[in-house]
């Protein structure tokens, strides 16, 4: 079963004042090392399909087509918004395993090495049609 694990980021003032930009060097490094090691673990376990980090959301835009099809952009968004900041797509035995993996990501170290326990959204990735429908 494939799942996408999505990690978000709050951009309101209060969240930003506690964000990674404000952590001491050791904590930033520990967090980065955890994330690199975590992806490697999933890869070594044969469970990683893909993982991407997204660029900072300061240039995020909402795009709609105008009357003539030309893009109309909306943004930058000032605050109080959650943005996707990265995701993992994993291929695992069952839902429980997907939750375990998500919990590992959630507990990534933050200030002072304490687990962040951040919310990770878990959604099943739909598969193609079953091989035989009779």
């Amino acid at each position: 079963m494939k799942f996408i694990l999505m990690m978000g980021m709050q951009t309101d003032k209060e969240s930003m004042s506690k964000g990674i930009m404000t952590w001491p060097k050791e904590d930033v490094q520990a967090h980065i090392e955890f994330m690199i090691g975590f992806s490697k673990e999933l890869k070594d376990a044969g469970e990683l399909v893909s993982a991407e980090g997204l660029a900072w959301p300061n240039e995020a835009k909402l795009v709609r087509a105008g009357k003539d099809g030309t893009p109309i952009t909306d943004g930058v968004f000032p605050e109080s918004k959650e943005f996707l900041i990265g995701y993992w797509i994993i291929d695992v035995e069952n839902t429980e395993r997907a939750y375990q993996v998500a919990a590992r990501a959630s507990a990534a170290p933050g200030p002072g090495g304490a687990p962040l326990n951040m919310p990770i959204e878990v959604r099943q990735v739909m598969s193609g049609p079953p091989e035989e429908i009779q």
């Binding site: 490094q29 090691g37 900072w56």
Partner: protein, 415 residues
Amino acid sequence: VTAPSLSVPIEHLLRELTPQVLGTVVRRFRDFAAAEDAVQEASLAAAMQWPLDGTPNNPRAWLTQVAFRRMADHIRSESARRRRESEVAHEVAQSSESTPFEAAPQEDDTLVLLFMCCHPALTPASAIALTLRAVGGLTTAEIAHAFLVPEATMAQRISRAKQSIKNSGIPLQLPTSEERAQHLRAVLHVLYLIFNEGYTSSAGPQLRRADLSHEAMRLARIVHNLQPDDTEVAGLLALMLLTDARRLARTSVAGELIPITQQDRTLWDKQQIAEGVALLSATLPKGSVGPYQLQAAIAAVHDEAAQADDTDWPQILALYDLLKRMSDNPMVTLNHAIAAAMVHGPTKGLELLDGLNADARLANHHRLDAVRAHLLELAGDREGAVSHYRSAAVKTGSLPERNYLLTQAARLSSD
């Protein structure tokens, strides 16, 4: 069906023979798109059969024969469309007469292919994919893997590139002598992009994808052997050798980026540096110094310093002065400012950066912030440095670089 994993010699042999065989098939049938498919199929057939049956005595003839057979199949399958059949038959008939193209020496086949795959009419992404497949002999799956895209996407990119070659009527021949210089620059630019894609990896969390860099160096070597007197070809090859020599030192075991001043220089590839320096020393006296040679010369100055403190910055500054006069690239101006700061102090460097504030090409570029942060730090302005490291971190599209910049900001704000 998956091909059995190939022994290295067979893989190398196939990659080396691909452009030669393709050149022959294209010359014979004058249909690049179909010839390219036929050669790829022949190469896949070889990858399946040779490990089992042994490599044939004349592998080139084997591949050519299989590719010719595929072309014959292709022509036959097209024969339902009579008009087209007669066209192809006509082309075949024409090409079997001894045309000047046919009479040209075989090494030129590879050049003809390179000029076509890197034609200025193609987008860089198309040119890169096509060059890697037609000249590099990589399979679509390998190219897709290198660029972290699905195989079907890459197959489509390649097929569209071939279509645009067909549509734009790019001739299957060496460019005229007037066009030649311009087209050779286009080839070098594509090889440079392939190298950089491998070296800095514009996508994904991994900083470096070595195979693309090595492929770019292999192709640059081929071009250099074909055009030994072209100083910029030699310059590009030297630049690649001298830059790639630092690859092991460039990232930590955990994948973090290490700037050149802090790299463990014992990890630098001495042999590759020696080769790059020798190539450059043989080239520079030939006159006509271009941007690739200058960049190679700068890389050589860095490579030749046993420690960061030994770096001959005045020499680097002089080289950037020359380079700046040759190109209007703001990245060159940025690097020039760093060199100036190392020679004349950070204030001088910061002054030069101010001149770039109005440059629209850099308006949202993280490099300007990153360099300013570095120079502010050298000048003792910690607060300013932290703030610019942070804005650079927010702007960069590279994950390892963002990690690096965040760490720099955190280091200065927490000490």
